[in-house]
């Protein structure tokens, strides 16, 4: 079953700016899907159209088989959105925001309060239930929007940069939370600029740039496109000159740090054999760049060259 089908979606804003130039996308039910792209690529525009906050220019969208234009109410009941910008009434107490949102979906007040309690507790906001939203910290406001998006228990949850400005600890607990609800069957679409976040959470991915999809594939397949990886080795003994590592491309960052580029055909074992022969001790090693990040930059660069 597909949770989301987008077909040839176009959006031209009233000022004439063409933000989406024909996007087609399929997200399977149960997926954890990353929608990535540089600033201004059109991610929020696409998401806002899916959430009925922005009118499309043309194209079609369906949610679990319900067309968003023809079967509007059924489709909308299945969507939950955590938008990029705060969009709640700052003067409303936290619990009221959830209960009112539930009310718009026709959820009776008593049940709405029960749901609000569940999600506020899960997102660690229960203590703040009586506080006006404007007195929450930035990270709390983000979590409030997650709780609000869940009160009607949507089957498709879309999060537009939910972890922007959230500290590491809370970000990790958000990840765990999202993985849990995904494991229970909620389809999740996530946009983020933290690519390691996308790499560790998402199984499938689409990259959008200048209003077009430039790549859509599974995360492992995308990562396997990486032709070379650069590793940074910390050395036990300082080196005076760049060592001769045969076919490996190397660079000395400083006397105790070596950068080695490894292509897909080469192996790590040969590299370490060679280093041992030369009497070089490696104390630790890391990727120079996040793998997805490296691919992302390559792909976006390529799309820029192809469509100037």
């Amino acid at each position: 079953m597909t949770a989301l089908t987008i077909d040839n979606l176009h959006k031209t804003y009233r000022n004439g700016f063409e933000a989406l130039k024909g996007i087609s996308l399929k997200v399977q039910a149960g997926d954890f899907f990353a929608l990535l792209g540089p600033n201004g690529a059109g991610k929020s525009t696409a998401i806002s159209i899916i959430a009925s906050l922005v009118n499309k220019s043309s194209g079609s969208i369906s949610i679990y088989g319900h067309d968003l234009s023809e079967d509007r109410e059924a489709a909308k009941r299945l969507i939950g959105l955590v938008p990029q910008e705060f969009n709640f009434n700052m003067w409303e107490p936290v619990v009221e925001i959830l209960v009112n949102q539930a009310g718009y979906y026709g959820i009776p007040r008593k049940l709405a309060f029960e749901r609000a309690e569940i999600y506020l507790k899960q997102l660690d906001l229960w203590e703040k239930r009586g506080t006006q939203a404007r007195w929450l910290s930035g990270g709390m406001k983000r979590r409030l929007m997650i709780a609000r998006a869940l009160v009607h228990q949507p089957r498709l949850l879309i999060l537009d940069e939910p972890t922007a400005g959230v500290d590491i600890e809370i970000r990790r607990s958000m990840w765990r939370f999202l993985q849990e609800i995904n494991a229970k069957g909620t389809t999740i679409i996530l946009t983020t600029h933290y690519l390691e976040e996308a790499e560790s959470l998402c199984r499938n991915i689409a990259i959008i740039d200048h209003g077009k999809i430039i790549e859509q594939t599974s995360m492992p397949r995308l990562l396997s496109q990486l032709n070379t990886e650069t590793f940074v080795l910390n050395l036990g003994n300082p080196l005076e000159a760049v060592p001769d590592l045969a076919s490996y491309r190397v660079k000395l960052q400083d006397t105790e740090t070596l950068e080695v580029e490894i292509t897909r055909e080469q192996s790590m074992n040969d590299l370490f054999d060679r280093l041992s022969q030369l009497g070089i001790t490696v104390t630790s090693m890391r990727n120079k760049q996040n793998r997805l990040e490296q691919l992302f930059i390559d792909l976006v660069d390529r799309s820029k060259r192809e469509a100037p």
Partner: protein, 258 residues
């Protein structure tokens, strides 16, 4: 089969939220009209009114009470919807409504009922105050109530349309100041149009507020400058027109969706 039960909950949610909003800020919403109308009663009704003598066979204060009650209903029904819906847009929490499956007519209905609730509350407060100055004898309760509610609905709708088009705080005060106030003041609140030269009587007849004030006055006193059926027809006609127009604006997302 439409999920009427769900719509009813959604409607109640919006209405409750609206009522809580104006009750929370009652110093801005309920108190000012109470003070203003008390001043009107004291100054126009008592001090000046006693020198004016009778109008249409009634003491001046009795003549203006219906108009003053209706004026506060008009102003407050309008003000409630225009300011509430405008801040909903401005702070973007309209998106909570847009994303959910609430039909547009429920959204409109919720805000209109919220406006009517404030119009009614203020109208009742003003009526109670008027009892300190005069004995109100109501000629026809049903007509009085009908005109009261219909007028309130009509101006709540007008406030909604104003909010849809408004992009700045100026936009929500321009119409009340330059359109609503003149229309009510010239709508026969303080005088019978029979006092005017016939040309200005005819001009007054294009003012819809005149029909409401007169229909309401007829409900209370039993005197009117115009035919009641015509007045009711005009009010209902305007309500129909503005409802359709508001629903069209919502369907297109004018001022709400990009």
């Amino acid at each position: 089969m439409k999920p009427w039960g769900l719509y009813a909950i959604a409607l109640r949610t919006i209405v409750t939220k609206e009522i809580l909003r104006f009750m929370r800020i009652w110093v801005q919403t309920i108190l000012p009209p109470a003070i203003t109308t008390t001043l009107y009663f004291v100054i126009f009704g008592k001090l000046i009114g006693e020198r004016i003598g009778e109008m249409e066979g009634y003491s001046y204060i009795d003549f203006i009470v219906p108009g003053l009650i209706l004026m506060s209903v008009i102003q407050n029904s309008y003000a409630n919807v225009v300011s509430s819906f405008f801040s909903t847009k401005l702070q973007h929490y309209i998106e909570e409504l847009l994303i959910s499956p609430v039909p547009n007519w429920v959204i409109l209905g919720g805000y209109v009922v919220g406006g009517v609730a404030r119009g009614t509350l203020v109208g009742v407060v003003v009526t109670v105050i008027s009892l300190f100055f005069t004995d109100l004898q109501i000629n026809s309760y049903s007509l009085t109530l009908l005109v009261f509610v219909l007028t309130s609905v009509l101006f709540a709708l007008a406030g909604f349309i104003n909010a849809v088009y408004a992009t700045t705080f100026d936009d929500i005060s321009i119409v009340p100041t330059f359109v609503l106030t003149p229309l009510t003041y010239l709508g026969g609140v303080f005088y019978s149009i029979n006092l005017l030269p016939s040309f200005w009587q005819d001009v007054s007849l294009i003012n819809p507020v005149l029909y409401m004030v007169n229909a309401f006055r007829f409900g209370i006193l039993g005197v009117s400058d115009i035919e009641i059926a015509v007045a009711l027809g005009i009010i209902l006609g305007f309500i129909g027109l503005l409802t359709l127009f508001s629903l069209m604006l919502l369907a297109r997302g004018v001022g709400i969706k990009n």
